[in-house]
């Protein structure tokens, strides 16, 4: 039990610390790297809670895809962050007002609201199956409709990406690998006899 507590505080501290560094660090690449650190520690927290599936998904999706994509965007786009920060003090009062409103709302939420009375606070999961197994049990049966629909949504996203980016320009020279590979000696080499002192004529 004490080991679990130690790891909890370890992960939680690094998570909060690196989350702070995400917004505090001056270099955007460092920010993204801290973001990845925060994700990994959050995954650790999930493992401590016994939600190993969520932990792995968090690493695969957020660290493997989203954060790396972020990193690429940050490094490839030439965003001048110094210029972005210039309006900081100009917008500060407005930002403080918005922040104040959100803080007040949070206080209200924590202070006054109660959760719905029939909300199941603890889901009854049998002890002998892991939570990954439980997801597998319902994903293709009870929730097959949502699963298939998500697949179609992703298909549309893929078609959309192709439609919007693939362009057959007329005057682009393309490499035709098949015709390159299928060249034989007969089509590639021409033997010409060159007479001394005259050189080749025509399009050699």
């Amino acid at each position: 039990m004490i080991v679990q507590a130690i790891f909890f505080y370890l992960f939680a501290c690094i998570c909060v610390g690196s989350a702070f560094m995400v917004i505090a660090s001056r270099n955007p690449v460092h920010s993204v790297l801290f973001l990845i650190l925060a994700f990994v520690n959050a995954a650790g927290l999930f493992v401590l809670m016994g939600a190993e599936f969520l932990a792995m998904i968090l690493i695969v999706v957020y660290v493997g895809a989203v954060a790396v994509l972020f990193l690429f965007v940050v490094m490839m786009l030439d965003v001048d962050f110094a210029e972005l920060r210039q309006g900081f003090f100009q917008y500060l009062p407005f930002g403080m007002v918005i922040g104040g409103i959100f803080l007040a709302e949070l206080v209200l939420v924590v202070g006054a609201w109660t959760l719905g009375s029939n909300l199941p606070l603890e889901s009854p999961i049998p002890a002998h199956i892991t939570n990954t197994e439980v997801i597998g049990l319902v994903l293709y049966t009870r929730y097959v409709y949502f699963f298939e629909l998500s697949g179609i949504v992703l298909l549309v996203a893929m078609i959309g990406a192709i439609v919007l980016t693939l362009q057959h320009r007329v005057r682009v020279r393309r490499q035709k690998i098949s015709s390159q590979v299928s060249r034989s000696r007969a089509t590639a080499i021409e033997v010409r006899t060159v007479r001394p002192g005259q050189g080749l004529e025509g399009n050699a």
Binding site: W113, T114, N118, Y143, V153, V156, I159, G160, V163, L164
Partner: protein, 477 residues
Amino acid sequence: MNTITTLSSLQPILPEIVMAVGAMVLLMIGVIGGGKGTGVNLLSTLLLLAVAAFVYVFQPNQTQLFGGSFVVDEFARYLKLLALLSAAGTMLLSLDYLQTEHQQRFEYGPLVILSTLGMMVLISAADLIALYLGLELMSLALYVIAASNRNDVKSTEAGLKYFVLGALSSGMLLYGASLVYGFTGTISFAGIAKAAGAGGIGLIFGLVFLFVGFCFKISAVPFHMWTPDVYEGAPTPVTTFFASAVKAASIAMFVRATIVAFPAITHEWQQIVVFVSILSMALGSFAAIGQRNLKRLMAYSSIGHMGFALVGLAAGTAEGIQGVLIYMAIYIAMTLGAFAIILSMRRDGKLVESIADLSGLARTHPTQAFFFGALLFSLAGIPPLAGFFAKFYVFLAAIHAGLYILAVLGVLTSVVGAYYYLAIVKVMYFDDPRPAFAPMPYSVRLVLAIAGLINLLFFAYPAPLIGAATAAAKSLF
């Protein structure tokens, strides 16, 4: 609850399966067949019409699948027919446009089909996850086809604007959905209705955020800002799709979620709907007056019309929902007709879209001018055209529900709206003629003829539509 044991138990969802598989098959035909995609887009139109016929003939009356996530009832059937028919109408309008504007590509048809599939899921959705997935499926395809003309800056702008704001509104809707789930402990509409009896401020917060998402999709004030730019920038057939099928599906989502999930807090949401409705009607009427571009004008007109449709929802009764359904059917017929006219305004090989270009249309193209004039009178709500009956039923429901102020304001704003519709009629009939337009393509003529005849002759035989709308409205209560 209906568990899936055999393949035949999937029969209620067969239209959706046909749409999904059909879209994939058509994509493969497009990829393997090569070519410009004329054939694929024609086949897409036929598929939409075939599924519409199937839904009309075979759809069972009252079933649910997948633990209540997917509901088939009269309401779903009515709106699915509307969405499918307006999608087919859009495709008919697109066929010639894509060819003459050199934007022909085979992905267009399948994307319209997939978007319509999203609408069907949305219309049948009876829990929050299905609702969100349907909404995203519909919207994602829309973002793509809005930006499909990449050589045009306005089209790209339209796609990007719609995408960014759509993502924001989806975020709001999800936030609302999570709050509703948190305070009721369930995602199914029926479950929410049971748990909502206790009320509570958290649930109302969730409801408000859900409404933000809904209002964005139907472009009701104050979430309408994107509408004129997107409508103007997107290719005209795509704008037709936005103004017809998308509106039908979004209204369906709005109505089902509100009526089925929140009957216990009717008083709370009624205030919001009344407020949104009045603002939309007013903005739709006043902001359209200064417009010179027909597509922008139609955008403001659609904002106003959504306000009128919401009058029926504000009533919150079966009669009000019946009004909304009749309104949507007639509104879609009017919109398809009006856009058929806009698509036929081709002069010197280019599409023109300003009101001044219609000048003297009555002398150069008398039939076209007559149909457009009738559609405009109908949009303004002048009897005995269909548009009058649409407004009549929603206002009647509002008065029966005791919402007198709303009904009076609605009538007043529709008088203001009549001004700008009739101003176009004046330009067509009394101004000096301009050079004639190119002849209308046959597919566009077909859409215009059907839409025009529905508008002109609705008063003679209204029974089928009103009967269907009554049955559909009853199935929700």
